[in-house]
Amino acid sequence: MAVLEAKKVSKFFGHFPALRDLTFAFKAGDCIALLGRNGAGKTTLLHLMAGLTRPTDGSLEIARRVSLLGHGIGVYDELSARENLQFFANLLPVKVDVEVWLEKVNLREVAGAPLREYSRGMRQRLALARTFMGEPELLLLDEPFTSLDDKATALLQSLLAEALARQATVVLSTHQIPEAMAHASRILFLERGKLRYFGPCPDEMLGDSTWIYRTYGAVS
């Protein structure tokens, strides 16, 4: 049973083709690394999967419960951690115990204070709780490791492992190969809006960060 199925998906911005004829499917429990240079269409593809934009052509079927961690952290600065989580929990179709999640990301003691008083790391941890709560079937993470502090990185690692263990599908976009390799079971490589490679991680990538660009890329 596919969590996400794209058939000949294209996305145009005016006459500019951002994505062209993508066909692929993700299964439950997959962890996909979205690779590609800047401007290859990674963010556009993530937005498509999130349902923030709709394809110009082709069909895209997406799971019911999707969660997104974009460049912005997606929580409100004026509200407290508890209010933030409670608000997003109220929008979910399942019941979520907010206190459990506050405990999990280690913010319980300060949960009543407004977010603007938090440190950067604390806000990032709250954003992680917001993303992972409610057991989403499809997790979309846009460059999740950039600018995370140590604690938040460790937390993200464990949350990712947990999510994968309960057969959630995870999509990470990144352009740092070693990081992607550490988690991903499959690679989706985009170049200029075209799908160049989709499959298991090739071993050659391990030591050589430009291997995939050289092998599957058309422009050098």
Binding site: L52, T53, L68, G70, G74, Y76, D77
Partner: protein, 224 residues
């Protein structure tokens, strides 16, 4: 769907009352303009009765835009709008929740301004409290629904503070005109009857048409 609107309404109200930035700014603005009016004409003369409605509704439309403008900016700072849309919140629920929140803010400003206006200019606005409430509700809803929908349109513009009023005011003229006319009557203690009721009908019709249009088009506006 309505439950989601309610959740968003509560969140917006809570956020605004936490900082009160927009509310305070627009209240202060409204009060300053109320005082400025006294220089525009003789504040003790009878002629002010004839322009009461006009003054008040221009004031409410201006301070209303200050409030409405913040509505989608709130969602923008940390990309919260994206998160809401990903959580399968229908765009129309989002609009409805935000409109209700804006309606509450506008009504609050009116609740402060109307007594102050009555006292300062010696006009009793509250002879027909139910009529006044009705007109305020209807006309404020008109400002709120169109204002919120247009705030969604302008949220990505660099000049959004400027563009929103430029787009909004020409379109709410019918609603404002009706509200002005009815408010004049109310201030004079006259219950609108007969031909005057056409303005009530205009307000209701305006609201029905533009609420339907806004709820129908908001998905197109927000989702690519």
């Amino acid at each position: 769907m309505l439950r989601m609107s309610w959740t968003i309404f509560l969140k917006d109200v809570r956020m605004e009352f936490r900082g009160k930035e927009a509310l305070n700014a627009s209240l202060a603005f409204a009060l300053v303009v109320l005082i400025l009016f006294s220089f525009a004409f003789d504040p003790t003369s009878e002629q002010i009765r004839e322009i009461t409605g006009g003054l008040l509704w221009i004031l409410f439309a201006f301070s209303g835009v200050l409030l409405v403008n913040r509505s989608f900016v709130r969602e923008q700072s940390n990309d919260c709008l994206d998160v809401l849309l990903v959580s399968k919140v229908p765009a129309s629920s989002l609009l409805l929740g935000k409109t209700m929140a804006n309606l509450v803010f506008i009504l609050l400003v009116e609740a402060v301004c109307l007594p102050v206006f009555s006292v300062l200019y010696n006009i009793s606005m509250f002879q027909l409290p139910l009529w006044l409430l009705g007109v305020c509700l209807l006309a404020s809803w008109a400002i709120a629904i169109l204002g919120t929908a247009f705030a969604a349109m302008t949220v990505n513009l660099r000049l959004r503070e400027l563009m929103l009023p430029v787009m909004l005011y020409p379109m709410i003229i019918p609603a404002l005109a009706a509200a002005m006319y009815l408010t004049n009557n109310i201030a004079a203690g006259k219950v609108p009857v007969g031909d005057d009721l056409i303005w009530v009908r205009l307000l209701v019709g305006f609201n029905v048409i533009f609420t339907t249009l806004s709820l129908g088009l908001i998905d197109t506006i927000l989702v690519d």
